[in-house]
């Protein structure tokens, strides 16, 4: 049956209206949080891991409060608080997060407690905090925000599922803004679990040499990224115009999707000013990025981001954060440049990332129109 004949034209796929990124905050191994900037010199990985550079939590919480909070609760709440403050918002109208692994430390602690105390009387706190939506609940409590609240837990699609949800909410017309974030952490135990699956490099690697590496695996990382997205453009850093997710596609399918994304927004490939690629130094998976790079115009600036934050389920949050600021400030972080630009303003930005060659995502971000 020819579906086009029975389906109204307006039901073509990917028809969500663009939304605006009003604020963007990043907490990761680099000093990105305070000034929404990336220092010229990247902090080096230790033991092939890039660990959180923690903000000064004492500005936000009492010692008593901190004692009860797990790592990702701290990074998540602080990133949420500052994103909302940047946007001048007293209470979010929706709270949506994405995380691949949630609070790994709490999950591990509760597994260990069960073994250690032979299923006796256990402290419920790690169990509660291991729940993937516990950060969402705490953000809601912090702001007394009784509203739409949900959590996506799908590896390399987690942030995109959350953003798609926010785009739908704004299109459905009930609300004007939403808090969207993603968070991840790495623990020594989880490092070992993933090491056995071949996720990390066997030899020590410098961040600066990660992309050029000729071996398998990447370096571990962790990061928390929060954004306020809104319906109107007032005060926005950038416009999120399009978002695509592909599960285990061929290289050709990725390129087709990129072509259709550009076509849908009436863009030619020479209109793309910046392409941010998720290169993580794993030779098994570079060919996807190589293909998108090869399909880019020679005048387009090409950047990477995993030398700064490492590899994890929701690392793409770093790319969204840097793209939003690139659109706003009209400059890029030089330490992450693979190929410099040969032209002027940064109007159109493509992000392409995949997680373990399975979850592939494409973003189109644009400079906010005057």
């Amino acid at each position: 049956m020819d579906l086009a004949a029975i389906m109204p034209a307006s039901y073509s796929v990917n028809m969500l209206s663009p939304v605006y990124i009003r604020s963007a905050r990043a907490i990761c191994a680099q000093d990105t949080f305070g000034n929404n900037d990336l220092p010229g010199e990247l902090t080096e990985a230790t033991g092939n891991s890039l660990h959180y550079l923690h903000p000064d939590y004492s500005k936000y919480f009492t010692i008593m409060q901190l004692r009860r909070m797990s790592r990702v609760t701290r990074t998540g709440l602080v990133a949420a608080i500052e994103s909302l403050a940047d946007a001048g918002i007293k209470k979010p109208e929706a709270i949506i997060t994405g995380t691949g692994k949630g609070s790994i430390y709490d999950t591990e602690k509760f597994i260990q407690n069960i073994l250690e105390f032979h299923e006796g009387t256990l402290n419920p706190t790690p169990f509660i905090q291991s729940t993937y939506n516990s950060l969402n609940g705490l953000i809601g409590l912090q702001y007394g925000a009784s509203c739409y609240n949900t959590t996506y837990v799908h590896r390399g699609f987690s942030l995109e599922l959350a953003l798609t949800d926010a785009m739908m909410l704004l299109q459905e017309g009930e609300i004007e803004q939403a808090l969207v974030g993603c968070f991840e952490e790495i623990s020594p135990e989880h490092y070992i679990i993933k090491q056995k699956l071949g996720a990390w490099k066997k030899e020590p690697v410098s961040c600066r040499e990660l992309i050029a590496s000729k071996t398998t695996g990447s370096i571990a990382g962790e990061g928390t990224f929060f954004f306020v997205v809104q319906k109107n453009k007032a005060g926005a850093l950038a416009k999120l115009s399009g978002l695509r997710m592909l599960f285990e596609p061929t290289v050709a399918a990725v390129l087709d999707e990129l072509t259709s994304l550009l076509k849908e927004h009436h863009l030619r490939r020479e209109d793309i000013d910046l392409v941010i690629l998720g290169y993580n130094g794993d030779v098994r998976h570079n060919h996807y990025y190589d293909a998108v790079l090869a399909a880019s115009d020679t005048s387009t600036c090409i950047q990477c981001f995993k030398p700064a934050c490492g590899e994890f389920d929701t690392a793409v949050g770093f790319a969204v954060w840097m793209a939003a600021w690139a659109a706003q400030r009209q400059q890029v972080f030089p330490s992450l440049t693979i190929r410099p630009a040969m032209k002027g303003p940064i109007k159109n930005i493509i992000i392409y990332n995949h997680y373990q060659a399975k979850d592939h995502v494409l973003y189109l971000l644009q400079q906010t129109e005057d």
Binding site: M1, D2, L3, I6, M7, S10, Y11, S12, V13, M15, G100, K101, G102, T107, F110, I111, I114, L115, E119, L122, P124, F127, I128, S130, T131, Y132, N133, S134, N136, G137, G140, L141, A145, S146, C147, Y148, N149, T150, T151, Y152, V153, H154, R155, F157, T164, D165, M168, E172, E189, I193, K194, Q195, K196, L197, M245, F247, E248, D313, K358, D359
Partner: protein, 402 residues
């Protein structure tokens, strides 16, 4: 906004494999709650649970086509429910864009927890055990199913504790209504684990006897395991797939009450707003509701808060209500989808299933759950509630296809 129809269902729970076995057990008032045999827990003789009778290998072998599916308990259960939901229909790209939204609260924990010490020991490395490391999260099961059932266009996983699959269904319906997708298979799966049994036990939320929803002497929940998926389609996709509507997925609401990390507000504000929101989206009145499949976990806090919320919303025109947690146990992330399927049973067969073990009405409120099977009664609109940790409240509304 487009209408969303339920065109397929698949389920596995302690009541049995498939919709027929589940419905028969409900009609016969047979509970799946007893003492578990497969769960590796020191508490299993003390704390009853609703375990699926078959062991994991048997479940895997029951699949019509196991293919390359990872043979852990979660994936085997989920795949059985998916096979039933999809039936003989092979969704082709020309029928429209079909997505897959799954939900789970602890992913593949059941198979991981027995090998955890070895998994994190750098000196040990056995290939079969190492692979379990990839199953600990929530995305693994979804990706196994997506690959196996060729559902790779738009996939995702939700985890909002006990309301997870209600939120997965809601997300799928909204993706269809907003035109992002034309159809979506939505639901969830959770297995019994030592992790969750001890977790709820540490919160002192588990009854040592079969649970008593809405009873004055209720003393907590029983955990269960299961998987359930519903096929949702737009009208256009139904024409293309040739599938028949079993019910209309007419309303839904997600509302977080921001009250407490694990307890509902005493006045049931979240439950009230979620139910009210679902009825409003469907453009119905409270008097249109025929029956409520309550969250009804039989914890001390939930049932009174939920009862107060229902009373506040419906007043003197309280529809029949009950909870089916006393049959299936609380299946956590699967509960929303399992109870969505029971709601479709209510509508399709014009029958209602009562609570079990009910003796004494709650003294705080004049509200009696249904205590006997009701048949040959016209059921037009059914609300199904799922509430979870973090203040997460979700309510779904299913309606008869006219």
């Amino acid at each position: 906004m487009r209408s969303v129809y339920v065109t397929g269902m698949g389920i596995i729970s302690a009541l049995g494999i498939g919709v027929t076995e589940n419905r028969s057990a409900l009609l016969a008032m047979q509970s799946g709650i007893s003492h578990s045999s497969h769960l590796n827990s020191l508490l299993k003789d003390k704390l009853p649970a609703a375990e699926i009778k078959e062991d994991t290998a048997t479940l895997h072998n029951l699949l019509r086509y196991p293919g390359q599916l990872f043979p852990n308990r979660l994936v085997s259960m989920a795949a059985l429910a998916m096979e039933e939901a999809l039936g003989e229909t092979a969704y082709q790209p020309g029928m429209g864009k079909m997505g897959f939204i799954n939900a789970t609260s602890v992913g593949g924990m059941a198979d991981v927890e027995d090998h955890y010490t070895e998994l994190v020991d750098p000196s040990k490395s056995e290939a079969a055990i190492n692979l379990l490391g990839d199953t600990l999260d929530c995305g693994h099961c979804t990706e196994e199913l997506a690959r196996h059932f060729h559902l790779a266009r738009f996939i995702g996983t939700v985890s909002t504790a006990c309301s997870s699959s209600a939120n997965a269904l809601m997300y799928g319906a909204r993706l269809i209504r907003n035109g992002v997708l034309d159809g979506a298979i939505c639901g969830g799966a959770d297995t019994l684990t030592r992790f969750t049994l001890n977790g709820f036990n540490s919160l002192k939320n588990i009854d040592r006897n079969p649970c008593k929803p809405f009873d004055a002497n209720r003393n907590g929940l029983n955990l269960g395991e299961g998987a359930a998926y519903l096929v949702l389609e737009s009208e256009e996709m139904m024409y293309a797939s040739g599938r028949k509507p079993l019910a209309v997925f007419s309303g839904f609401c997600n509302y977080n009450e921001a009250f407490h990390p694990t307890s509902p507000s005493p006045e049931g504000e979240g439950a009230y707003r979620a139910m009210k929101g679902a009825i409003e989206i469907a453009q119905l009145k409270t008097s249109d509701i025929s029956y409520i499949n309550a969250h009804g976990t039989a914890t001390i806090n939930n049932d009174i808060a939920e009862a107060i919320a229902m009373k506040k919303l419906f007043g003197e025109n309280m529809p029949a209500f009950s909870s089916t947690k006393c049959y299936t146990g609380h299946t956590l992330a699967a509960a929303g989808a399992i109870e969505a399927i029971f709601s479709v049973f209510n509508i399709r067969h014009n029958e209602l299933y009562p609570v079990l073990n009910f003796e004494t009405p709650m003294p705080e409120i004049k509200l009696l759950p249904l205590t006997a099977v009701k048949e040959h009664t016209s059921i037009e609109h059914v609300l199904s509630n799922s509430f979870g940790f973090g203040g997460n409240n979700a309510s779904l509304l299913f309606s008869k296809y006219a």
